[in-house]
Amino acid sequence: MAVGGTQLGRLDINEKMHPDDSALWERSRAGDREAFAVLFERHAKTIYNFCFRRVGDWSVAEDLVSVVFLEAWRRRAKELPPGKVLPWLYGIATNVVRNRRRSERRFAAALRRVPAPQPSPDFSADADTRIDDEAQMQRVLALLSELPQRELDVFVLCAWSELSYEDASIALGIPIGTVRSRLARARAHLRELGIDDGHIEGRTPSAQETL
């Protein structure tokens, strides 16, 4: 149906005030921009951190967040299984990062219209921290550069973003069994490379904050 079939019957006040992702996505599919903006507010931080961990640059990650959501809007005809909006956004983000130059070219005009950052009183302290983050992330990414792209995609989704196998399969559009085998191969490769995957998998408290 044209306008949010899944919206019907949602009488619960809490659900009305805080509709779930699927309800917002159904409304977005019907052209409701405000609903899409709520999805953006809800998941921008998650996608921002995911993109940062793929490119190691906070500024680039910020632009990629915009690209991911513009791409999601462009593909809003997509029907998603209930509760799978975020995995799908992860999938778009993975593709956007993988084809970064291509994505940035598609959205170049839109990105040129992004307003300049507003001055911030604690900008310098924040900037220093972020520069440290970037150096740290670049080191990790350099280690992982030995991994084949397909294994890296699965590893980052499952180990760093802690997606389930099912959600990773939705994000990447591959069967669950393939997710499982690629993750196993990625871990084996990391071990061959002498990398402590248990640590790099993000089992530190800081990595948990991404969720």
């Binding site: 019957g9 997509k78 800081s206």
Partner: protein, 454 residues
Amino acid sequence: MTNSGHSLPPSRDLPPGRLSQRKDHLLAEISRDEPSFLAWPKRTDRQGPAWAARPALIAALVALAALLATAGLLVTRAGTATASAAEVRARVTHALGSPQNISGTFTVQTRPPSPAHRRQGCFNCYPAVPIPSRFVIAADGSYAQHSQGTQRTLRQNVNVRSDIAYNAKTGVQTSYQHGSVKGPGLYVTATNLDPSVPGYSPEAQLAAFVQQALAAKNPHVKNTTYDGRPAWQMTLRFTPGDDFYDTYGVRVDVVVDRATGLVLQVTQYADGPDRWTSIESIHNLTIGASANPADFTIAKPRGAKAISHNYGFRRVAISEAAGIVRYRPLLPKDTGGRPLVDFAVANVSNQSLYGVHAPAYHDVVSARYGRGLGSFAVSTRRGNPTELPALFEGSSARTVKVTRGPLAGEIAYLSTSPPNPGYLAASHSGLIVQVTAPSAHDALAIANSLAAAR
């Protein structure tokens, strides 16, 4: 390696103020009439003509173009953009949720399971000749359909004519039938109609099936042309046990107009995947055709037998309904954004017509929300649970439990027959409650959202 050297940096928020800036930017971009990212930008950064700088690339492109052109000639298909089944379904849904004037010709062509002369005791041993119907559907819910042709029977050829029209502005339906029964043609003027009875729409009929089928199946989508228009073609295959198998058979081919999302053709293969048994087609499709109010009234032909039928519904305010029917009607709290477009009550609604007896309905309240295929209707009337099975005669149903609202705990019947995807009926406190919606999911959701209106 050490932990400090290779641990992940912590998760961070976007810099102060940037989340709202980016959100505003996103809203501005997606609100543009033609967002720039919907099309690839033209390159403007080249120095000099591209062909001079990249001869190898140009040669490769020329070779590729030649290959594609050859392939295009071979397969005689139009366009290059393909879509997923879900995208096609969303397009169909969007098209029908947007009321617009549509006109065309609707044809149903059928073929018996085996050649007619081999069948035992056939009444009509000639293959049925399809009689096209011209139709016009207006954005306001008015519609008209005209068909006229010759039916060939064992004894003679019979000229048949069937017209029906509904004028949404006057609320009057007129129809004329000739040739299907002996005697003069029958001209019927029907007034004070039930808002919950769906109107004529061949497009909606075809699309209802396609929406349901595409929700259950995920066929490959191919590009094709239909009446010279770029279209999508899909093949759906069903096996015993599918809801669709009993009604549609082993295979259905669907053609959807790419520009409008309207379903143009549904071909059924009831017995085997290689022999069609039914083709429903829309040809001469026109979108946005101007519609004259006179188009939606059938004039009485000379010599026709005229009958007037009053269904007994009165358009009143919702607040008046309880005083008329002596119970508080059940209406949905959440309509999914669909406006109330028709609301009426009837103390007695006579359903007998053409000499066919049918029981009258008492104290009926009917409401319709939204227009087009996306619309739904809720109707309540006096009745008891023993009436429910009869409402599903000729179609299959399953029972579901309503969990919220006044019907909470009641067992409802929900149609599983694909032609009636979203029909639900339940009994509650001496009332029969019926919901007609685009899908079974919607019908149940609406039943769960009902509340007693004041």
